[in-house]
């Protein structure tokens, strides 16, 4: 087979990604048809900026899903290498004639295109989850800090400012090392941070159904069983130098890779204080409103007011910030990869790939440029999405 021209490369990539296009068209078609019934999500389809952002984000979500879960889209396995393809130019054909390296080969003769597609999986998996976790921590602590004020607020704000005063990269260099993983510190941090969703859901249910124990108790028990199991299997790990191994292995459903766990925990840790400050500020603003005073007069408990009166009213800014923060988490993941921290050196995620190729950047740019553009487009998409959501949320 011959080396492809640029037109040929683009056609091949377009065809290779056809499952993603089909899924995208289906998503947009369904969403636009039913957009009046879908609330804020539906309103997104009234704003061009929002739609462009949503399309870019969903492109990566589908790419991550199809490539990681079903092994589709990729022309080669992400770790496959063919010695003669080292630093191959984009579009070069494999010597045995079975295909092309659509975007060229890297230093270790692997397919840049397939790695870029597969690498989206790590980002799409970690960034939103870590942001969600950071929101749980930030909301659970920020609401009472803003609502009660006083000593609790002073203490929590001091802690948040303390973490924010750390340069992020210094914190990463201190937390995300082999030596720290050995001490088990990430697992202890996970044990504390992962507790917050559990607390959040418990308080949420308890404050709502406090007066109706017949409903509350079974719900709480169910939640504790499910979330408790997820919690315990996420923090406990089997293996030699694991610090926490509470669950026996047959019960331990999730066994996160220690490298990914430490990356996850540090991204949550870095993001939580900012979310805390945002939630605290919003709560301070809302708590002087009349409907909060009305709730207090009705005799509603403080947690009911916080979670069922204040929180739903600040959802607009929080949703917008959530999108922006996923973008920031993506940037942080890339930073970690760029410094070679946490993830393994042959991991296909974008930051690590940029780090791997940057030594030979001036001679062979494509192994670096491709993941760089991928990362850029995802963060851009999230920013545009946040902008669209902000515009639509402000019209309410």
């Amino acid at each position: 087979m011959e080396t492809l021209s640029w037109g040929g490369i683009l056609t091949h990539i377009f065809l290779q990604l056809s499952p993603v296009w089909i899924a995208l068209i289906a998503t947009f078609w369904v969403s636009i048809v039913y957009k009046r019934k879908l609330g804020l999500y539906g309103k997104l389809f009234d704003s061009t900026v929002g739609m462009i952002g949503f399309a870019i984000v969903m492109f990566w979500v589908y790419s991550a899903l199809f490539s990681n879960a079903f092994g589709m889209l990729m022309t080669n396995d992400p770790q496959f290498f063919e010695v003669s393809m080292k630093h191959a130019v984009p579009g070069e054909a494999l010597p045995d004639g079975t295909g092309h390296y659509l975007l060229g080969g890297d230093k270790q003769a692997r397919d840049v295109f397939s790695r870029m597609i597969y690498g989206s999986g790590i980002v799409i998996m970690i960034a939103p989850l870590a942001t969600l976790m950071a929101f749980m921590v930030g909301i659970t602590l920020g609401l009472p800090a803003g609502y009660f004020g006083g000593k609790l607020d002073t203490f929590l704000s001091f802690l948040a400012n303390l973490i924010l005063a750390f340069p992020v990269i210094l914190l990463f260099y201190l937390l995300v090392t082999k030596e720290i993983v050995q001490t088990g510190l990430p697992q202890y941090m996970a044990a504390i941070l992962f507790l917050f969703p559990l607390i959040f859901v418990t308080v949420l249910i308890n404050s709502r159904f406090y007066t109706d124990p017949g409903k509350r108790n079974p719900m709480l028990i169910g939640v504790w069983l499910v979330l408790g199991w997820v919690y315990l299997s996420a923090i406990s790990q089997q293996g030699g130098d694991s610090a926490i191994a509470i669950l026996p292995s047959w019960l331990d459903g999730l066994d996160p890779d220690p490298n990914i766990l430490v990356v996850f925990v540090s991204v949550v840790f870095v993001n939580s204080p900012t979310v805390f400050r945002i939630v605290r500020g919003l709560t301070l603003d809302i708590k002087s409103r009349d409907y909060v005073a009305a709730g207090q007069t009705r005799g509603e408990g403080p947690w009911y007011i916080m979670l069922w009166e204040i929180l739903p009213n600040v959802r607009g800014p929080l949703i917008v910030d959530f999108c922006l923060r996923i973008g920031y988490a993506t940037i942080l993941l890339g930073t970690l990869g760029f410094f070679g921290l946490g993830l393994e050196t042959n991991s296909p995620d974008w930051g690590t790939t940029i780090n791997l190729g940057r030594g030979l950047l001036r001679a062979y740019a494509h192994p670096v440029i491709v993941p760089a553009f991928a990362l850029l487009s995802l963060v851009l998409g999230l920013n545009l999405l946040a902008d669209g959501l902000r515009e639509e949320a402000m019209k309410d």
Binding site: F158, L170, L174, I354, A372
Partner: protein
């Protein structure tokens, strides 16, 4: 006002103490000390050798004692070996053990010695800080005016074509982290793929900064921060432009240029001032990335070296400096805000 500054300084010292203690604790965890022993002594040390190496140098003491020594509130560690020769934390080479001071911490002005770069921490920090300071100065010179101009132009007429295109530019720049823009800039402006007009390495810029070797690092850091400041300026500008007094000025027949320059601009620039000040500690991250990428051996490079080699005292020095930078900029932004905006009073 005096009390306010005093209280802020108190919080600042408390924060610095807490932070350095955390850094101290993390760097003194046993696996880290073991790594330090092996990199400083011998890679093939046995476990007992590691323990005695650490004990001889005072690393085996309790954490708070070591922290006290570093602060200068506890007497420095001394060790007398079998031959009767005394070594210790405060005993520099060439000084007799009896003449050495018993306290040597930062309270005495002694920042300790870097194990990785083999120099006094105070020398390294001063030297690297001046290099990075120079880089930051140019970053601010490039970033702040361009961000303000973009923001003001976009916010001046909300919803216009200028606004839309400039806003897209600023979103694009906030979505491009330094390691992406740096890599792209090097590819397009410093390699065979694009135009080869700049240099992709800034090592020579440490002695002799020129347009050729300094443009790309400065541009890389500026780009990421620029978008954010521009968006904040735009938001503030659009808010001012819809204010009543601007409408009055229009109704009385003033030209658009006069309205923007004389009436809107001054009020619109209060909010960006805070944003710019708070952006400075954020630039520190960019500095670390860019100094690594362009091999400019400044403060960020020293941070990476110190952290990579578990160089405890250099790391502490670096964190003290960065904490002071973060908190000072916060203080300046608060005080400056009061001066710029007379409606705000500090109670």
């Amino acid at each position: 006002m005096g009390l306010f500054i005093l209280r802020r300084l108190g919080i600042m010292i408390l924060t610095a103490l807490c932070l350095t203690f955390i850094v101290f604790w993390l760097t003194n965890l046993y696996p880290n000390l073991e790594k330090l022993a092996k990199s400083e002594g011998n890679q093939r040390m046995s476990d007992t050798e590691v323990v005695s190496w650490l004990a001889e140098r005072g690393y085996a003491q309790p954490l708070y004692v070591k922290y006290g020594e570093w602060l200068g509130v506890a007497p420095g560690f001394t060790f007398t070996n079998d031959d009767g020769k005394t070594t210790g934390r405060c005993i520099n080479s060439g000084v007799a053990a009896e003449d050495a001071p018993s306290y040597c911490g930062i309270l005495q002005g002694d920042w300790g010695r870097s194990t990785a770069l083999d120099d006094e921490v105070s020398n390294i920090v001063a030297n690297k800080l001046s290099l990075t300071g120079y880089l930051m100065m140019w970053v601010l010179i490039v970033m702040v005016p361009s961000a303000l101009i973009i923001g003001v132009l976009a916010g001046m007429s909300e919803g216009s074509r200028t606004d839309r295109s400039l806003s897209t530019v600023s979103i694009l720049s906030t979505a491009t982290p330094e390691y992406v823009s740096g890599v792209l800039l090097i590819t397009f402006f410093a390699s065979g793929v694009g135009w080869k007009i700049f240099k992709g390495s800034a090592t020579t810029a440490m002695d002799n900064p020129t347009l050729e070797n300094f443009t790309l690092p400065v541009l890389t850091i500026s780009l990421y921060g620029m978008g954010y400041i521009a968006r904040m300026t735009r938001a503030s500008m659009t808010e001012v432009m819809t204010a009543q007094y601007i409408r009055t000025a229009r109704l009385k027949g003033l030209g658009f240029r006069t309205i923007v320059m004389k009436h809107a601009l001054r009020n619109a620039l209060i909010a960006p001032f805070t944003v710019i000040m708070l952006q400075i500690p954020w630039l520190l991250n960019g500095v670390v990335i860019v100094e690594t990428l362009f091999n400019y051996k400044g403060f960020g490079w020293a941070l990476v070296q110190a952290a990579g080699n578990n160089d405890i005292e250099l790391l502490l020095g670096v964190s003290v400096v960065s904490v002071v930078v973060v908190l000072l900029t916060q203080l300046i932004s608060d005080i400056g805000y009061v001066f710029l905006n007379p409606r705000i009073r500090i109670s």
